[in-house]
């Protein structure tokens, strides 16, 4: 039963992708309807799988001695992330029915979205390291294709290329790790690795650990790879909500969470993870302060919150990081989709042109406020509980300056969140923009996500129990709802953090006129160049593209040169054979 469910979670979206593509762009209503059908079906199936989570292998297909076996394990981590991917995916597709109304080439759009949903579930369900890498690459491909969806816009194409090159660069770390495991243990299976991790020589384990950290940092846009995510905002907004807020960027966090028991003993690894999270969270929070593009501000905010999750993993609080992942997926998707409604109706992403839109778009304003409160960590909202858990873990296990930094980050988060909300929905309108409230399909998705943003923390008991039951090596402690409330409400650290958040909100309110005005030139340039790192990432992209065009010259299409290639390769192979035989 569970094997059928887990397989169907991958196959149904992929089947949907094929069907929507074949239906053709002349029947847009069919394409919208079929896409919604397949993604909602996947979402329901993913939710159905939650009670059946177990640590056993649910599906196994031998693929020969080179690839090992294609295995899927539906344990707590996998099921949680698969549920997030499918449910948020279906809400984003539902939203797209209104957002992409009248756009051309819908087949390409929906096919890649569904392909992505299937690949993401495959990634989290996979228990074979090599196949995890394959699904990882498929999600990167879909991300590139969807960022560059408007492929006659050079900015979109450049953004897509940059995202692809940087995430692939990190993917090398994952591949190196996978091959190292195979070389040492002879098998790609993850449970095998976790059990025998202590048998690996420590130098190799360190190489693997930092390789995985590289891959996770590149995929989740952490320091120093954080510049591709803001440029990826050229994608249509449902894509930004799905891929760059709720699912694909969580793949890095998932990777580190799953392999935590393997690498925790490596000296310096946890510290490195925590440091990466800390630097990213603070750096991008500052950049979000000065952003003028609504989606860019949300992108920086996403990276900052992912930094919190990395920090949590570095501090050893895996459960805290996963709970924050869940909360963040819900409220960030809500914020992006609400922003999408705004952008779609006023036609611009520049916040300097917006203002006072709350009167014209009351529903969107209300849900945006809910999402913003969750992001800032206001009590009752799900973001509050998960952020407090993270900060508590940090207080216990990390140096005082790291904890202090994250506290400041929480304050900054509150500050820029209020600034963003004020600039868009309140105050005097800066330009006479005509806005209409969200359409029906948009309202449904937004409503569901808004309800989720203050209810998902109620499931903490079941969530932690599922994780503890199915992931024995991670040593989870079961945290019931009552225990959570007690722990958070009665810890003094909570009130310190709450104080900082309130301080941030208050300061933001008081300086709202200056904060939403023009930003000092120096700060703006610094943020735009991502403190010098954007130059590094641009160089990487440029070098890659230039070497690609140089290699293009070897493809002459002339038989004589092709035969030279064949004979040269033959000579090489013969040489190797002779040399190894001697």
């Amino acid at each position: 039963m569970t094997s059928l469910l887990s397989l169907s979670l991958i196959i149904i979206p992929w089947l949907g992708a094929l069907v929507v593509w074949r239906v053709g762009d002349n029947h847009p209503k069919w394409q919208h309807g079929l896409a919604v059908f397949f993604s909602v079906l996947a979402g329901i199936l993913a939710l159905l799988m939650i009670p059946y989570a177990s640590s056993e292998v649910v599906f196994s297909l031998p693929m020969g001695s080179l690839f090992g076996e294609l295995t899927f394990v539906s344990d707590g981590l996998a099921v949680a992330l698969a549920a997030i991917a499918c449910v948020v995916g279906s809400l984003a597709v539902l939203f797209s029915v209104d957002y992409m109304h009248g756009e051309r080439q819908l087949g390409r759009f929906y096919a890649f979205v569904l392909l992505f949903i299937g690949a993401m579930t495959g990634l989290v369900l996979s228990s074979n390291l090599l196949f995890l890498f394959f699904f990882w690459e498929i999600t990167a491909l879909c991300s590139y294709a969807l960022i560059s969806f408007y492929n006659d816009d050079p900015k979109a194409v450049a953004g897509g290329m940059k995202a692809l090159i940087i995430t692939q660069f990190g993917g090398v770390g994952l591949l190196v790790g996978a091959l190292t495991v195979f070389g040492q243990l002879g098998s790609y299976q993850i449970p095998n690795l976790i059990q025998h991790a202590s048998n690996l020589p420590s130098g190799l384990l360190a190489v693997m650990g930092f390789g995985f950290l590289l891959a996770a940092a590149a995929k989740s846009a952490q320091f120093p790879f954080h510049t591709w995510l803001p440029d990826a905002m050229e994608a249509p907004t449902p894509i930004s909500a799905l891929i760059h807020a709720a699912t694909m960027v969580n793949a890095g966090v998932y990777l580190l969470a799953r392999f935590y028991p393997v690498f925790a003993p490596v000296p310096g690894w946890s510290f490195a993870v925590m440091l990466v999270g800390l630097i990213t969270a603070l750096l991008t929070a500052v950049m979000a302060l000065t952003a003028m593009d609504l989606k860019r501000a949300l992108a920086y905010s996403t990276v900052s919150q992912l930094g919190y999750m990395f920090y949590a993993i570095g501090a050893g609080g895996i459960f805290a990081s996963q709970l924050h992942l869940l909360s963040h997926a819900v409220f960030k998707a809500l914020l992006f989709l609400a922003a999408g409604s705004v952008i779609h109706s006023v036609g611009t992403r520049d916040m300097r042109k917006m203002g006072g839109l709350g009167k014209q778009m009351p529903f969107v304003r209300n849900v945006f406020i809910l999402g913003a409160l969750a992001l800032a960590g206001f009590p009752i909202m799900n973001g509050f509980w998960s952020k407090e858990l993270i900060l508590e873990e940090g207080l216990k296990n990390t140096p005082w300056w790291a904890y202090g930094g994250m506290l400041i980050g929480a304050g900054l988060t509150a500050f820029y969140t209020l600034r963003m909300t004020w600039m868009v929905f309140f105050g005097e309108p800066r330009e006479a923009l005509h806005a209409h409230d969200a359409g029906k399909a948009m309202k449904i998705s937004l409503g569901i996500l808004a309800v989720g943003s203050f209810t998902t923390w109620l499931f903490v008991g079941g969530f932690s129990e599922m994780l503890a039951r199915t992931l024995p090596f991670h040593e989870f402690h079961v945290l019931t709802l009552g225990a959570l409330i007690e722990e958070v409400l009665f810890a003094p650290a909570t009130y310190v953090a709450l104080g900082v958040v309130m301080l941030g909100l208050a300061i933001s309110w008081m300086v709202r006129k200056q904060a939403t005005g023009p930003v000092p030139e120096a700060l703006e340039v610094l943020s735009r160049e991502s403190f010098g790192l954007d130059w590094l990432n641009r160089q990487i992209a440029k070098v890659t593209l230039r070497s690609a065009s140089i290699l293009q010259k070897t493809q002459t299409g002339e038989m004589n040169w092709n035969v030279v290639g064949i004979i040269g390769a033959l000579a090489l192979v013969l040489g190797i054979l002779l040399w190894s035989a001697s």
């Binding site: 002339e558 030279v564 040269g568 033959l570 000579a571 013969l574 002779l578």
Partner: protein
């Protein structure tokens, strides 16, 4: 010595092959190819594969040569083979490397058990390899179809060209006729 015919055949075949590749006129190339075919066929016969030798001779020296000559006549003897794109020294080095490596790996082999003429098991083995026979029949059939398709088109191209020519003539005739009519119509009011 038993080995003499082999040596002579071998040298002859290599010489003919070299001439086939390096001659400028295609007709000479195909004739040298026929020569190689004949010499290799004799060598096969000496090795004991009599049926294969017969097939090789009739097909290689007969069928392929005739086809090449026919193709050359249809195409028209093209200009001399132009200078090659790949520099000659490079080609020479590559080939010497590959052939040398393979030769080095295989030449110091054990001497072969002398091939005896009475091991003619080809007939018996056609039963084992009946699938090969079927595949060859399918291959020949599809080859024939391919040829018919390709060569038939070339005829229709000529016919189409002729048709177009004819149509052009008739169209120009119609235009001339129409011009004449309009001239008549213009002329009549004057008369009236």
């Amino acid at each position: 010595m038993e080995i003499t015919p082999y040596v002579l055949l071998s040298l002859g075949a290599v010489f003919c092959a070299y001439r086939a590749v390096r001659s400028h006129r295609l007709l000479a190339s195909s004739l040298y190819l026929a020569g190689v075919s004949a010499l290799v066929s004799v060598m096969l016969f000496l090795l004991g594969a009599t049926e294969v030798a017969v097939i090789e001779l009739s097909v290689g020296a007969g069928l392929v040569t005739v086809l090449l000559v026919y193709a050359l006549s249809v195409v028209g003897e093209d200009a001399q083979d132009p200078v090659s794109v790949v520099p000659r020294p490079l080609a020479f080095v590559l080939v010497a490397l590959v052939a040398g490596l393979i030769g080095w790996m295989t030449l110091p082999l054990m001497p072969l058990p002398q091939a005896t003429r009475d091991l003619l098991l080809v007939d018996v083995l056609w039963k084992k390899r009946a699938l090969d026979v079927w595949i060859q029949m399918v291959l020949i059939f599809s080859g024939v179809l391919g040829i018919l398709g390709l060569l038939a088109e070339s005829k229709t191209i000529k016919e189409q060209a002729l048709e177009e020519e004819g149509m052009m003539e008739s169209v120009s005739f119609v235009i001339a006729h129409q011009e004449a009519e309009t001239q008549d119509i213009e002329a009549t009011p004057e008369e009236v």
